[in-house]
């Protein structure tokens, strides 16, 4: 099952089939979520209208963690089982995760200023999320730092796996230490502490961000597969010219 989709040619066909659905779902979910979040949902009894920032802040933070878990998982598969697709998926995930982390930080700051009274504090939650952002940047920098893509992938995969210890720290920081950041409202004992009129747009936006991730991920993985092909073709052509082989010969493995 797993191996079937690990074949790049099969994956490309699957990606082409799934991508329009992911795109459509993103647009529909986003439109519904935005209407509910920005217009139809009430103001909060304490935060007033600023509660609307939550509808983009919390899903961004969820995706920041989700993407990092996916990144670490893909890196583990790439390191242990050497699946070529896992490495490409990791490389394609990192910029999306970094973007979500950046958005969680910025939107949180825009909420914190009027509500807490500060743009930023160095409490355990905010600091650990900033560390997550730097882990993404470090992963991407290391991934591109080597001339040999194989070595870059190995070094960056190890960094991604080491950085995974930060994920539980982020999740439980609000429970383990006292922080300025509030504890989780949705995942908690005794059910969510959010009124349904606010929980619905929040979950819709969460779903929309997830399908957005799938959508852009597929585009980026397709690009990575093609880039790998290009690299292989260029190397073959360079080798072919050196050996004066016929340049017009179809590249083996590319023809079907």
């Amino acid at each position: 099952m797993f191996h079937r989709f690990a074949n790049p040619a099969r994956f490309l066909r699957l990606a082409a089939a799934v991508q329009p659905w992911a795109a459509g779902a993103t647009v529909v979910l986003l439109a519904t979520g935005l209407v509910l979040g920005l217009v139809a949902s009430p103001a909060d009894y304490q935060q007033g209208e600023t509660v609307r920032i939550m509808y983009v802040h919390v899903p961004s933070a969820w995706m920041a963690i989700f993407c990092y878990s996916a990144l670490a998982g893909a890196c583990a598969v790439a390191l242990i089982w050497k699946h070529p697709l896992a490495g490409l998926a990791a490389r394609a995930t990192a910029p999306i995760g970094a973007a979500f982390t950046f958005l969680a930080l910025v939107t949180g700051s825009l909420w914190g200023k009027p509500m807490w009274g500060t743009w930023w504090v160095w409490d355990a939650r905010l600091t650990s999320v900033l560390v997550l952002f730097f882990l993404y940047l470090g992963y991407m920098a290391l991934d591109n730092a080597f001339d040999d893509p194989g070595r870059g992938a190995k070094a960056s995969s190890i960094l991604a796996l080491v950085g995974f210890v930060n994920v539980p720290i982020i999740k439980f920081s609000v429970d383990w230490w006292n922080t300025l950041h509030q504890p989780s409202s949705v995942v908690k004992m005794g059910g969510p502490a959010i009124h349904p009129s606010m929980l619905t747009p929040l979950l819709l936006m969460g779903l929309a961000f997830t399908t957005y991730y799938v959508w852009v991920l597929l585009i980026r993985i397709r690009r990575e597969i093609i880039a790998t092909k290009i690299r292989a073709l260029q190397m073959r052509q360079a080798a072919g010219q050196g050996a004066a082989a016929p340049a017009a010969a179809p590249a083996p493995g590319e023809a079907r």
């Binding site: 103001a43 609307r52 920032i53 983009v56 802040h57 999306i96 973007a99 825009l110 009027p114 690009r223």
Partner: protein
């Protein structure tokens, strides 16, 4: 018209809420456009390297 103005005023929090949504929109749309262009460029490069009938 007045209702619309007061809606955008967001009870005085317009300066925080709208920038938050603007940044999210800019980053998500931007990342999508960069990813798509990058895929298109790669596809074009592949076409110049090998005739299309050789692929797939």
């Amino acid at each position: 018209m007045d209702a619309l103005t007061s809606y955008f005023y967001m009870d005085g929090y317009a300066g925080f809420i709208w920038p938050a949504y603007a940044i999210v929109t800019a980053v998500l749309v931007g990342l999508w456009m960069i990813s798509r262009r990058s895929l298109r460029d790669a596809e074009r490069t592949l076409d110049t390297l090998s005739p299309p009938e050789d692929r797939q």
